[in-house]
C-alpha cells in the first residue's frame, strides 16, 4: 500500500521550506522530499567563492531573519546553508533527505509521487525543486575543438583548477562577470562574450542597489502587471557580486578582461562573435539610467531624498574602439571555455503535461495548469523578487492559500 499524505513538497531549499512553513500553519498534513540534504544546491552546486547577491539584512524567511554582526555583508555559501538549515529546524519541516523523486503522475483524486524510497499518494504537490538545476549551454558548443576544455558553473569550483592560459567566459550575467573577474585575477587572461545583460551599480546614493529595489518597490511588481512576462522571466541576473564593489563591464575592462560580442557560431574551428556589442551595451546603460531615475523619483515623492546621498550617474560603459569578431580556437590562445549562459529547471520527472516545448512549466503565478499542482521559487513567479530568498515569503503564502482553498472545495 502506498503511503498517503495531503501535500508533497518537492525540494527542501528555501522555497520548499517556506511552503512547509505555511502548510504547517494551516495544519495541512505534508512531507518535504529532498534528493540530498536541506539546501542541497547551495551545498553542492555552487563555486567556492560565491556569496549571496543580497545583503545580509535582506535575508529573511518567514519568522527567520539574519541577526549577525554584519548586516551589510553578503553570506558565503556555508552561511547560506546554515541560515536555511536553521529555518528548517525552527519551522519543524517534515523533511525526508536523500529521497529522490522519480516521477509524478496524475491520479483520479490527486498525484502519485514515486521516489527511490517508495510511493506516496497525495491530493496536492508543490514543486520547489529549483530554477537552476541544469546549465543552459548553446548548441554552438558542439563545434568547439576537443583541445579546448569546456565547463559550466556546475563543474567550476575555482580558477586554480583550470588549465593555465586564456579563458573565454560566455555570458555576462552575475555568474559570468563573477567568474570572469576571479579567473582574470588568477593570471589567466579572460575574454568575455557579452550578449544582452543587466548593468547595476553595487551602491547608489550611498545605499546598496538592492535596498533601492526593495524600498522603491520595484521588486514588488506583480507577474500579472509586468508588461512582458516572458521577457521578465528570461531576464539575465544583474551584474552584481557579493562584494561592496561594482562589477560591471567597465570594472572588468579595468582589470584587463577583453569584452567581445555575443558568441554567434563556431565555423571551421573559429568562434565568431556578433558585431552588435555596442548595441547591447547601450541598451544596458539606458535601462540602468531609467532604473536610477525611478529610484530618484521614488526618493523625491516619498520624502526620502534627505536620507540618502544626492543623485548620481555613472560613466557610460566604455566600449573598445574595435572588438574582435573572431577567435581561432585551434591557436591555443583559449584553453578553456566557461559557459555562463544561464540555467534551466529540470522537470523531466514530471509526467503531467504542463511543461512547454522549451521545458518551462505552464503556470499562472505558481498555480500550475493541472488541479492541485503548484510551483514556487521560479523567476518572477508572482513578483519580480520571487527568486530572491526574501521574495519567497509572499509567494509561498499566496500559493499555499490557493492550495488550502482548493482542498476545501474538493472535500
Amino acid at each position: 500500500m502506498p503511503e498517503r499524505t495531503t501535500t508533497v513538497v518537492i525540494g527542501a531549499g528555501h522555497a520548499g521550506l517556506a511552503a512547509s512553513h505555511f502548510l504547517r500553519a494551516r495544519a495541512i498534513d505534508h512531507v518535504v522530499l529532498e534528493r540530498g540534504d536541506v539546501a542541497n544546491s547551495w551545498r553542492r552546486e555552487r563555486w567556492d567563492s560565491l556569496r549571496l547577491l543580497t545583503p545580509n539584512w535582506q535575508s529573511r524567511l518567514p519568522g527567520h531573519r539574519y541577526r549577525g554582526p554584519d548586516p551589510d555583508g553578503y553570506m558565503t555559501m556555508g552561511e547560506v546553508v546554515e541560515f536555511i538549515d536553521h529555518f528548517a529546524a525552527l519551522s519543524h519541516a517534515p523533511v525526508r533527505t536523500n529521497t529522490n523523486v522519480k516521477s509524478v503522475h496524475r491520479t483520479d483524486d490527486g498525484y502519485d509521487v514515486s521516489t527511490d524510497r517508495g510511493e506516496i499518494r497525495c491530493r496536492t504537490v508543490v514543486i520547489a525543486s529549483g530554477a537552476c538545476n541544469l546549465p543552459a549551454v548553446p548548441r554552438l558548443h558542439e563545434g568547439v575543438p576537443a583541445t579546448v576544455e569546456q565547463i559550466t558553473p556546475f563543474g567550476y569550483r575555482g580558477a586554480e583548477a583550470l588549465p593555465d592560459g586564456g579563458v573565454l567566459v560566455v555570458g555576462a550575467s552575475a555568474t559570468g562577470v563573477q567568474l570572469a573577474a576571479e579567473i582574470q585575477r588568477s593570471g589567466r587572461p579572460v575574454t568575455l562574450s557579452t550578449g544582452e545583460h543587466v548593468r547595476l551599480p553595487r551602491t547608489y546614493r550611498g545605499r546598496d542597489v538592492l535596498w533601492w529595489m526593495e524600498a522603491a518597490r520595484v521588486w514588488e511588481e506583480r507577474y500579472d502587471e509586468v508588461p512582458d512576462i516572458d521577457r521578465a522571466r528570461r531576464l539575465a541576473s544583474p551584474q552584481l557580486a557579493g562584494i561592496r564593489e561594482t562589477l560591471d563591464i567597465n570594472a572588468l575592462c579595468a582589470m584587463g578582461v577583453e569584452p567581445v560580442g555575443r558568441a554567434a557560431t563556431v565555423r571551421d574551428g573559429e568562434l565568431l562573435f556578433s558585431g552588435g556589442l555596442r548595441n547591447v551595451i547601450s541598451l544596458a546603460d539606458l535601462k540602468m539610467d531609467r532604473l536610477l531615475t525611478t529610484f530618484d523619483q521614488w526618493a523625491m515623492t516619498s520624502q526620502k531624498d534627505s536620507d540618502v546621498k544626492p543623485p548620481e550617474r555613472f560613466e557610460p560603459t566604455r566600449v573598445p574602439a574595435s572588438t574582435r569578431l573572431r577567435l581561432d580556437l585551434r591557436s591555443g590562445e583559449i584553453r578553456t571555455i566557461v559557459w555562463a549562459t544561464g540555467f534551466r529547471p529540470d522537470h523531466t520527472w514530471l509526467d503531467v503535461p504542463v511543461v512547454d516545448e522549451k521545458g518551462h512549466l505552464n503556470h499562472d503565478g505558481g498555480i500550475v495548469d493541472s488541479p492541485g499542482l503548484y510551483a514556487l521559487g521560479l523567476p518572477v513567479l508572482r513578483r519580480r523578487k520571487s527568486t530572491f530568498i526574501h521574495g519567497i515569503e509572499d509567494d509561498a503564502r499566496e500559493v499555499i492559500d490557493h492550495l488550502t482553498r482548493y482542498l476545501a472545495v474538493r472535500h
Binding site: P227, R231, G276, S282, L283, L286, S322
Partner: protein, 192 residues
Amino acid sequence: MGCTVPTMTTIDSIDNGVNVQALLDAREAVRTAPEAAQFTWRSTTRWENGVHSTTTVKDYFGLGAEQNHKAPTTFTADHPETFAATDKGITPIEYLLVGLGSCLTAGVASVAQNRGIQLRSVEATLEGAHDIRGILGADSDVRNGFNGIKVTFTIDADASKEDIEALVAQSQKRSAVFDALTNPTDVTVDVA
C-alpha cells in the same frame, strides 16, 4: 514586416503611418502557428556586361503561400569609375547600407508608433569603412567586407533625448538587417 515587430501597446493619438496593431496581431498569430512565420525572400540577378548587373525582386514566400509584390522592382549594380567600371548603378556593398539604413529607419518608426512617440523627421546617414586591399588580394590579412559601419540618426520627435536613444537601440535589437550584418549567416552557393 520583415524588419520589425515592436513590443507593448498601441497609442492611437499619434501617427507615424505604421500599423502597429497588424504587427501585434501577426505576432500573436505566429506564436500559435510558427509555420506561418517561415518566409523566403528572393531576388534574381542577371549579368549585363563587365561588373554591371540587373537584379529583379518580385515575389516571396510567406504566411504559408506564394506572395507577389505589387510590382517587380529592378536594381542596377555596377562599380564606379574609380574601379575602372561604367558606374551605371551603385556598388553591391552599398546595397548593404541601403538595406541597413531602411531597416533601422522602419524600426525607429514602428517602435515610436508603439511607444506613442510622434516623429517629425528621421534621417539616417550610413558610412561603411572599407579597406579594398582585401578584395584586390593585395593583403591577405585584410578582410573583404566592411571594417565597420557607422550609422548616425538625426531624429526630430516629441520625445526626450533618452527616449530617442532607446528607440534607436530597440530598432537595432529587432532589426533583420542589423542581425544579418552583425551575426554570421550560413550562405550556400550552388551551380544549378
